[in-house]
C-alpha cells in the first residue's frame, strides 16, 4: 500500500530562482482542428525552465494534441501568430514545422502512454536510440555506438533500476519496466524538456508511483523541465508544482498545486458532461491506495 499523502516534495528554491526568467516552452496561439472538430482552441502556454507541470483535463480535452504539437510530432493550424518554441529553438510557426525540426526534436524527450519502444530490439539498444539526435547521422545510421555511449546507456538503466535487463528484448518486460526504459532513453537524449503524455495511464499503482518518482527525481536532480499529462488529479497534486487544466481545448485553470482546490476541479471537469466518468475512473483505479484528505474522496462524492 502506497500512501501518496506521505510524499514530500522539496523544491530546490535556489535552483528555481537561478532558472527563473528562462522559458523552457513558449507556445503562442496554438490551435488544432481535425476536420471541424476543434481539439485545441487557441492556447498560450509558457513553462519556466526547471518547472514540473501537470496537464489535466477530461478525455478529449486536447492534452495529447497539445503535447504532440509542442514536441513537433504534429503541426498546428495555420495561424500568423501561432508558434511553439522549446529551449529557445523554434519547433513550428504559422502551422509549419520548422525546417530544422528533426534536429530540434532532440531537445524534447517524449514519453508515450504506450511506451513506444522497438519491441524486438534489446533494452540497451532502445536506450541508445536516445542518442540519435546527438551523434553524427552516419554513425547512428550504422548502429555504431562507442563504448562510452554504451556505458552511458547502462548508467541510465541503472538509474531507473533496470541495468540487469540490458540484454533482454524490450518486449519481454512488463509495462512499468518498459516505461522506465523509455525514461532511460530520454535520459540519454539529455533533452532540456521532458514531455510525458499520460505516462502512467496503463500502469498499476505501484509502477505508476515508481515512474512518477523517477520523473520527479529527474526534474529535481537534473533540473529538467517536465510537463506531464495525467488523468489522476492526486498524482498531479503530489508531484507537480503547477497545474494546468484544459477543457474543450482551452486553458481553464492554471494554478500552483497548493492553490488548487476542489471547486476548481469541479469546475474543470464539471463543465464537461463527463463528470461522472471522472468519478468512476478515480474510484476504479485508485481505490488501492487511499490518499487521505486529498481531493479524491471529496470529488468522488461531488
Amino acid at each position: 500500500m502506497i500512501k501518496l499523502s506521505t510524499l514530500k516534495i522539496n523544491i530546490d528554491v535556489n535552483r528555481l530562482a537561478s532558472n527563473s526568467g528562462t522559458k523552457a516552452i513558449e507556445a503562442k496561439s496554438v490551435r488544432k482542428t481535425f476536420g471541424n472538430n476543434t481539439a485545441v482552441a487557441g492556447v498560450d502556454l509558457d513553462v519556466q525552465a526547471g518547472d514540473m507541470v501537470a496537464l489535466i483535463g477530461s478525455s478529449g480535452s486536447g492534452k495529447s494534441t497539445l503535447l504532440r504539437m509542442i514536441a513537433g510530432l504534429i503541426n498546428t493550424d495555420k495561424n500568423e501568430q501561432g508558434s511553439i518554441k522549446v529551449a529557445n529553438k523554434v519547433i513550428q510557426a504559422n502551422g509549419k514545422l520548422d525546417k530544422n525540426v528533426r534536429k530540434n526534436r532532440s531537445s524534447i524527450a517524449f514519453i508515450f502512454q504506450q511506451f513506444n519502444l522497438v519491441r524486438r530490439l534489446s533494452v540497451q539498444t532502445n536506450v541508445l536510440i536516445g542518442l540519435l539526435g546527438e551523434i553524427p547521422r552516419w554513425r547512428g545510421s550504422l548502429c555504431w555506438f562507442t563504448k562510452e555511449e554504451k556505458q552511458r546507456a547502462l548508467a541510465a538503466l541503472e538509474r531507473v533500476g533496470l541495468n540487469s535487463f540490458a540484454e533482454q528484448r524490450a518486449s519481454t518486460l512488463s509495462g512499468g519496466q518498459q516505461q522506465r526504459v523509455a525514461i532511460a532513453r530520454s535520459l540519454l537524449q539529455d533533452a532540456d524538456v521532458i514531455v510525458a503524455d499520460e505516462p502512467i495511464a496503463s500502469l498499476d499503482p505501484r509502477s505508476a508511483k515508481r515512474v512518477m518518482d523517477i520523473l520527479s527525481d529527474i526534474n529535481k536532480q537534473d533540473g529538467k523541465t517536465v510537463v506531464v499529462s495525467l488523468h489522476q488529479v492526486d498524482y498531479a497534486k503530489a508531484y507537480c508544482r503547477r497545474i494546468v487544466g484544459l477543457a474543450n481545448g482551452e486553458v481553464k485553470i492554471d494554478l500552483s498545486a497548493d492553490a488548487l482546490n476542489d471547486e476548481d476541479l469541479v469546475e474543470l471537469y464539471g463543465t464537461e458532461k463527463d463528470e461522472i466518468d471522472f468519478g468512476v475512473s478515480l474510484s476504479q483505479s485508485e481505490n488501492e491506495f487511499v490518499s487521505e484528505g486529498a481531493a479524491v474522496p471529496a470529488l468522488a462524492r461531488a
Partner: protein, 273 residues
Amino acid sequence: MLNKIVQSPQDASDISAQNPLLEKKGIMQLFLWGLVAAILVWSWQGAEMNPYALWEYRGNMAEMLGDFFPPNFHDWNLYVDEMLTTIQIAIWGTLLSVILAIPFGILSSENIAPWWLYQPIRRFMDACRAINEIVFAMLFVVAVGLGPFAGVLALFVHTTGVLAKLFAEAVEAIEEGPVEGVRATGASGLQEVIFGVIPQVLPLWISYSLYRFESNVRSATVVGMVGAGGIGVLLWENIRGFMFKETCAIMIIIIVSVTLLDMLSQKLRKQFI
C-alpha cells in the same frame, strides 16, 4: 452479397416475399452464376479441352511411361553437377533481388514514401513481376549469351518485383508507435526506418526471402531449358533426344534436391517467425 444471405438465411427468405429490393438481389445473383457458367464454357472451347484424348491415347501413354523406367543413372555425377549449378543460380538470383527489394520495398510503402515516389516504383515492380522468369531468361540469353549468368539475371529481375511487393506489404502493416518513438528522439528519416521499421519487419522479410529461394530453385530448373544454364539444359537435351530413361533420372534428382531444400528452408523460416 452472398455472405449476407448466408449469415441470415431466415430473414432473407421471410422478407424477400414482400421486399422488392431483396428480390432484385436474387435476380442479380442468378445472373452472376450464369455469367460464371458462360465463362467456363467459353474457355473450355478456347483451351480445346478434350478429356477423351486421355482415354484414346492411353496405349501411347503407357508405352511412354514404360520408356521412362528403369531410370538411367549412368551419368549421375554430371546431373548432380548441373543440379548444383542450378542451386547456385537460385542463390545469386535470390540474393541480388533481396538486396534491391529492400530499398524498392520501403520506397513503395504508402506509410513511408510520398505518392509521387511510391506510385512509379510500384508500377515498375509490377512490370518486373508480370513477366515470367522464362521470358526474361530468353532475353538475357540474347543479351549476355548462353549460360548460368543469364539465368541469375532472369530470376533476379522477376524476384525483385515479387519481393518488393511482399516487403512493402510488411512495412505497411507495422505499428506506428515505435517509429514515432524513434522520431521523437531527433532521429533522421533514414534512422526512423533503420531503428523503427526494419526490426519490426525483419522476421517476415527473412521468411519471404527464404520462401522465394525455394521457389527460385524450382524456376532455375526451367530457365535452363532456354539455355540459361543449370540442369534444365540437360533436361531439354534428353527430352528432345527421346532419352526418357535419362530424363527420368534427371527428374528424380530434381525432385530429391528440391524437396530437401524446401525442408531445410522451411526449418529455417520457422526460426524467424
